[in-house]
């Protein structure tokens, strides 16, 4: 019994002193689109500063915002800007969100590579997701029913699609909602009749990114603003981080040549490339 009491006392002391002993940490939560950038930055930062633990979770822009509002994270990755409501809730909780635009991203419309359709207009994409165009036949393709893949409504990618393509009209029933950019790609690459959308960094040989209004989605066309569906990628912090802190060094990483190179190799557009 005595030793049990000692153990409890020891644990209490541990719990009390632990925050003081624990190493520095940066907790990042949010968008699955910004995820690859945050992960690569985290690895790079930890290799330079071995005493800092940078953790990244990818749970969607909406969850990232909620996390920041509740002060449960240091950085919220978001692929859209904060909504009025989120801003108000944050301010009410004493959190002042500051936006850092870390990169630019296009929103390529993806189809299976076997699909003969190469090009669509924004209008056509909207009509597909409105359910007005139901078959690839109507677009010059084979006679196959179009399978719509969309991101879940918690995602910033969805919001971008909703404003830039759908113009706030509702996506038709029957669309399949999936939880991440990677999942959209996987669904499209395994379904010949599918159409979907994901971040620029998620396009590879297994899917085909369509030309939209005649413009191919590449870092160049996104940077120049020619590609019609593009957006900035954000990292939000509570207030501007204290100068000299690890958080400040981390959030400024995207401005450094190394940071820009990382963003470029992952497939997004560094903010200096206009």
């Amino acid at each position: 019994m005595k030793s049990f009491g000692k153990l409890i006392a020891f644990l209490c002391v541990l719990a009390f002193v632990s925050p003081a002993l624990a190493s520095d940490k940066i907790v990042i939560d949010g968008s699955t689109t910004v995820g690859p950038i945050a992960k690569a930055f985290a690895e790079y930062y930890m290799s330079q500063n071995p005493d800092v633990n940078v953790t990244v979770s990818e749970s969607g822009s909406g969850n990232g915002a909620k996390s920041l509002i509740n002060s449960a994270c240091d950085i919220a990755d978001m692929s859209r800007f904060m909504k009025d409501k989120e801003f108000a809730a944050a301010v009410e909780n004493g959190v002042l969100p500051v936006a850092h635009v870390v990169a630019m991203d296009g929103l390529p419309i993806l189809v299976h590579p076997s699909n003969p359709v190469d090009e669509l207009t924004v209008e056509q994409v909207r009509n597909i997701y409105l359910g007005k165009i139901k078959n690839w036949k109507e677009l010059g393709g084979p006679d196959m029913k179009i399978i719509m893949i969309s991101r879940d409504t918690n995602s910033g990618t969805y919001e971008t699609f909703e404003t830039k393509v759908m113009e706030k009209e509702k996506i038709a029933e029957g669309a399949e909602y999936v939880g991440s950019n990677g999942a959209v790609r996987q669904r499209v690459q395994s379904t010949p009749a599918a159409i979907g959308y994901a971040g620029l960094g998620f396009v590879d040989d297994t899917v085909k990114a369509l030309r939209i209004d005649g413009i191919e989605p590449t870092p160049l066309t996104v940077a120049s603003g020619k590609y019609p569906i593009s957006r900035p990628l954000f990292m939000f912090t509570n207030n501007y981080p204290k100068l000299g802190s690890h958080l400040h060094a981390f959030i400024s990483l995207y401005l450094s040549p190394k940071g820009q190179e990382i963003i470029e190799t992952i497939g997004f557009v560094p903010v200096t490339q206009y």
Binding site: L14, A22, T55, A72
Partner: protein, 448 residues
């Protein structure tokens, strides 16, 4: 009932039992075989010289002289590849501007694929990300990338009523008559010498942390995180569960209130795990702010809630199975109720209680949903014990899901995913074995 009917019924029951066991074994084999085979490839694989170079440069492992010699040998074999390409570059510089553009684009694509296969060309600046600093470290991935170097994928859309057909065009045809014509047979025939694959047992997969978003390194942070979460859940759930069970069986007045409470506990066992996860986020993190962010502490408390019903129910059954005579004997000797419970009833019920704990431990280790919002992250360092109070951790079940769906390069790192699955299955197995052995020992002690 007639004897023959009874016999027939008896036999058919035996037959049914036999069939169900066969089906179960088949299902288990069907499930476990691929896990073991594909999972073992994370540990045992044909590693190329790039793997050894990475180990030397990043981890200071291996014999520097030997690896240096090997690198030089493979570089010598690669030399003609780069020579041929620079030769070709000279060739096309003579062409007209328009032609040059087209050829240059072709060459750029080829260069990209060769870089993926062999790593950056000598003399080029070193990329930041590890995945670009080295060529293929695994032979089977190298072969997959070789295909991309040798063949250009094209889709034939000539029949508008059908989906396109994939055709592979050998790149030799694109470069016919140029100095690059010989490049492709050269790479195909000499790839082994360029990469010198060798069967390697990478046991450090378990003890290395992951690098460059799981492209390289191992799964130590994930393993440690799972271990912390499981043990943490146990630390919270076992005392609470056992004490609750003792109260419910020994102290509480059996009546409507208690039976309602029992029904509630049983219902709690059926609540979907994601609900626990959201509750953990709302209560532990957002309301009482047990830690600033997600943390192992919050995660293990959520897991503890999840397994609490199982622990309580199993302990209750075990305590009730202790013969009443034990208790009566102790009480008749003048022992207090508390003393009786602690020294007579609990030890006798321990094997049964442990069974409940074993079952719930396996569940806690494998649950994904409760830790998504409370503890798990996709990238993070292995935590020290003290840091578990404040910091989140990667954990096997969540990272398996993350690598399968969200990761930006799923196909490149399948082996890591399978390695994680195998490790998780083995970890649960080991935890269970340990508990089973412990239980056997206690039972033996009680009998002896």
């Amino acid at each position: 009932m007639r004897l023959s009917t009874r016999k027939l019924l008896d036999r058919s029951f035996t037959g049914l039992g036999f069939i169900s066991i066969v089906i179960m074994t088949a299902a288990l084999l069907f499930l476990l075989t691929p896990i073991f085979i594909r999972g073992s490839r994370a540990f045992l694989f044909r590693a190329t010289v790039e793997h050894r170079l990475l180990m030397l440069e990043k981890f200071k492992r291996g014999n520097p002289e030997k690896i240096q010699i090997e690198v030089e040998q493979t570089q010598k074999m690669r030399r003609p590849v780069y020579d041929m390409m620079s030769q070709y570059e000279k060739e096309i510089s003579q062409l007209s501007r328009l032609e040059k553009m087209e050829k240059k684009n072709q060459l750029r694509e080829l260069k990209k694929y060769i870089e993926n296969l062999l790593g950056p060309a000598p003399g080029e600046t070193r990329p930041v990300l590890w995945r670009d600093q080295y060529g293929q470290t695994r032979w089977e991935r190298a072969l997959a990338h070789l295909q991309k170097v040798l063949y250009r994928e094209k889709w034939d859309y000539s029949d508008p009523t059908k989906m396109g057909q994939k055709i592979l065009i050998p790149r030799t045809e694109d470069f016919k008559g140029t100095s690059l014509e010989n490049l492709f047979p050269y790479i195909e025939n000499n790839l082994k010498k360029m990469l010198s694959p060798r069967l390697t047992f990478y046991w450090r997969f378990l003890t290395d942390k992951s690098y460059d978003a799981h492209f390289f390194g191992g799964i130590w942070p994930e393993m440690l995180g799972t271990l912390y979460l499981t043990l943490g859940a146990m630390i919270f759930a076992i005392p609470m569960g056992v004490i609750a069970a003792i109260y419910l069986t020994e102290y509480a007045k059996q009546g409507t209130v208690i039976s309602v409470l029992r029904t509630c506990i049983s219902t709690l066992a059926g609540v979907p795990s994601i609900v626990f996860g959201l509750f953990g986020l709302a209560f532990f993190i957002n309301t009482i702010k047990i830690s600033e962010s997600k943390s192992v502490l919050a995660g293990s408390m959520t897991l503890a809630l999840l397994i609490l019903p199982t622990v309580i129910r199993a302990s209750e059954e075990a305590i009730r199975a202790v013969p009443v005579t034990y208790k009566e004997a102790a009480l008749s000797l003048g022992a207090s109720k508390w003393h009786t419970v602690l020294t007579v009833i609990l030890p006798a019920a321990l094997p049964g209680i442990l069974t409940g704990i074993v079952i719930s431990m396996g569940r806690a280790a494998g649950e994904t949903a409760p830790i998504i919002f409370t503890a798990a992250v996709s990238v993070g360092k292995p935590l020290k014990l003290l840091e578990t109070f404040t910091q989140p951790t990667p954990a096997l079940p969540w990272n398996i899901y993350n690598l399968a769906t969200e990761h930006e390069a799923v196909d490149e790192i399948r082996h890591v995913q399978f390695g994680m699955v195998l490790t998780l299955v083995l970890m649960v197995l080991v935890l269970n074995m340990a508990a089973i052995i412990l239980r056997a020992r206690i039972s033996k002690k009680l009998k002896g």
